[in-house]
Amino acid sequence: MKTVMGIINLQEDNSLIRELTEQRAVESIPFAGRYRLIDFALSSMVNSGIQNVGVMLPEKGRSVLDHLRSGKDWDLARRHDGLFYLPPHQEEHTKHRGDLKNFYYNIDFFNHSSQEYVLLASGSFVYNMDFNELLRFHQNTGADMTLVYHTANGETTGTNIVLETEENGLVSDIAERSAVYDGSKVAMGLAIMKKEVFVDMIRDTYEHGGTDLQLDGILRRASQYNIYGYEHDGYVAHIDSTGAYYKASMDMLKPEVWTELFMGENRIETKVKDEVPVQYKETAEVNNSLIANGCVVRGEVENSILFRGVKVGKDVKIRNSIIMQKCDIQDGSLIENVICDKNVVITREKWLKGADNYPLIVTKNVVI
């Protein structure tokens, strides 16, 4: 994989997940008790042997920089190659919106990298994938471009790129659909292609007035390319809405998903914090939950995820909830179907309850 450079695009639309993205990019939303969404794409790249990764920063980039820093936690703080930040292009009164202009203005970085291939990834998908087989598939088919998809299990709404493929994997149609059906081939924001193809695509699309890499660069020009689809059959979740975030989080409570994503040979890496193992006290009662290091639990927790450093007081009941880093749930409170963002304090004996199908969201740093 030394011939492949990775590019992670952190410019995802956040309109359906606003509560969790007020101060951060979608890709740095905390997930599964300890991670940020970007960890999945980045760790998969590094574990596959990619040593040169460019990160296309979003406008709210501070949380991403704070998380990735030098790239050391992913072994990307290196003398040659390693982690590169590609800032968004800021020019007032620009006629172009969308992410394409940011690729266009960073074209030198792509050109100057020594790798032959580019693997483009979105930072808002959850998966743990080895890209070596993808590269071999791409080389064997002689495709101009290979898109990775997963087969949908059941119907979902929300905007997705859906592929139609022939038996050998050749893509016959590619479109942005508002609904996905059981068995649909849903793209995972992952594309591999030769660097020249990528650079030409950016330049040509931009110079013809394009604004969005995926829509204008790939979808509208699909007929110009020989595109193949490659299926990933492991766990996949696209975090594009609050509902999707909640559902995918609850998926982490399935031991088979937890084991596949996190306990296999290739580990998802994240920023290291030196937290103490979880301290369960005499009054703790915990069932079907993920509990991260640094938590101190004195109350009841069921079907929930506690991030690092959460305090659960006595006689607290937390159910079907996601409690992010450093929240303090004080004695006697009842929390059900709630997402608490970082550093939330729920003072004694408060009752918070969201609907079964739509969680209540408490934003960062709030004291209730």
């Binding site: 300890r34 084991t259 996190f262 890496e269 006290k281 005499e282």
Partner: protein, 384 residues
């Protein structure tokens, strides 16, 4: 590069034979402690937090896992341009090679290393105690007293004093007598095995000691008594707080259990962070039928059974219906469905098969060595 004021040397070569099966494959300082740490994390984190950025670690007995663990020192933030963790195993010279023959000899054999940095002071630490301590205060006291050497002391209960090296001091803390395991102690100030020496004084005494063929080359037995006999200025530095020698199975077990109290006497969660090399594992999973109380559990574990009054390290599996009580379960050990573990320490990668029993008693903790398998058939004869 600024001058090095104080260089730390951690004695980590001991076999720790009283830890029996736990140190069959690894040196004592590499023994896991407290749900994610290893014993050496404590002196190393103390150094990092005290602003000491150059630390020599003297290794000898089964050093490979320890070397691997220390690596570049980055886990303790010690991998800076000028600082670092330096692994110092015995090495060959023109006139042959020697093992470290004692604590003083280990430092003697590394005087060249100390000379590289030419520090004013040398802090000598041992790698088998659990405590948090700001060494910079001890160094301040050492300088203020214009001492030649300062020894960290800890007040032990009077009845336990005969088990320790005891310092008798005057009211200013100057040591006038040192008694190794006295039958009738005159004081209850025990040596913690923490020394600060003026580098020149240390060098002189080590050179003299090396020539003395009757010496057992030990700080407590030889160097300190010799300095006292020469009327050198030796001061005690009293440490208050939690300090535990974890050199035996019982004390290691007890120190782990101490962490489980509602208000632990030793708070790992405090301001003074203990750093360690973190495994890349997810938050642990507690299953629908699990019961977990009064325990510490680390990342990557899957708990489907019952855990009470126990410390669980990363990557452990506790199967359905299994019961783990009063025990310490080290990394990646698997406890099968319906198995019972009580008053035991299970080392890394142990496999307790479904239905098997591993039980000990208070005072006679059962230990299962690294990588061993306990089947339901042979579990009865392991009891006790």
């Amino acid at each position: 590069m600024s001058k090095t004021e104080c260089l730390a040397m951690i004695l980590a070569g001991g076999q720790g034979s009283r830890l029996r099966a736990l140190t069959k494959k690894i040196a004592k300082p590499a023994v896991p402690f407290g749900g994610k740490y290893r014993i050496i994390d404590f002196p190393l984190s103390n150094c990092a937090n005290s602003g000491i950025d150059k630390v020599g670690v003297l290794t000898q007995y089964r050093p490979l896992e320890l070397h691997n663990y220390l690596a570049s020192g980055s886990a303790w933030d010690l991998d800076t341009k000028n600082g670092g963790v330096f692994i110092l195993p015995p090495y060959a010279r023109e006139k042959g090679a020697d093992w470290y023959r004692g604590t003083a000899d280990a430092i003697y054999q590394n005087l060249n290393f100390i000379d590289l940095y030419d520090p004013d002071y040398v802090l000598v630490l041992s790698g088998d105690h659990i405590y948090t301590m700001d060494y910079s205060w001890m160094l301040e006291a050492h300088k203020k007293a214009k001492a030649d050497a300062t020894i960290g002391v800890f007040e032990v209960p009077w009845e336990e004093a005969p088990r320790f090296g005891i310092m008798n001091t005057d009211k200013d803390g100057r040591i006038n007598e040192f008694e190794e395991k006295p039958a009738k102690p005159k004081s209850n100030l025990a040596s913690m095995g923490i020394y600060i020496f003026n580098k020149d004084v240390l060098e002189k005494y080590l050179l003299d000691d090396a020539k003395d063929e009757t010496s057992s080359h030990d700080f407590g037995k030889n160097i300190i008594p010799k300095m006292l006999a020469d009327k050198k200025r030796l001061y005690s530095y009293a440490f208050e707080g939690y300090w535990k020698d974890v050199g035996t199975i019982e004390s290691l077990w007890q120190a782990n259990m101490d962490l489980l109290q509602d208000e632990p006497p030793f708070d790992l969660n405090g301001e003074w962070k203990i750093y360690s090399s973190n495994p890349s594992m997810p938050p642990h999973y507690v299953g629908p039928e699990a019961k977990v109380k009064k325990s510490m559990i680390s990342e990557g574990s899957m708990i489907l059974g019952e855990v009470y009054n126990s410390v669980i390290f990363p990557g452990v599996k506790v199967g359905k219906g299994a019961k783990v009580t009063n025990s310490v379960i080290m990394p990646n050990t698997v406890i099968g469905d319906g198995a019972v573990v009580d008053y035991s320490i299970l080392a890394q990668n142990v496999k307790v098969e479904p239905g098997a029993k591993v039980t000990g008693e208070l005072g006679t903790i059962t230990v299962i060595a690294d990588g061993e398998k306990v089947s339901a058939e042979d579990s009865s004869k392991r009891v006790g």
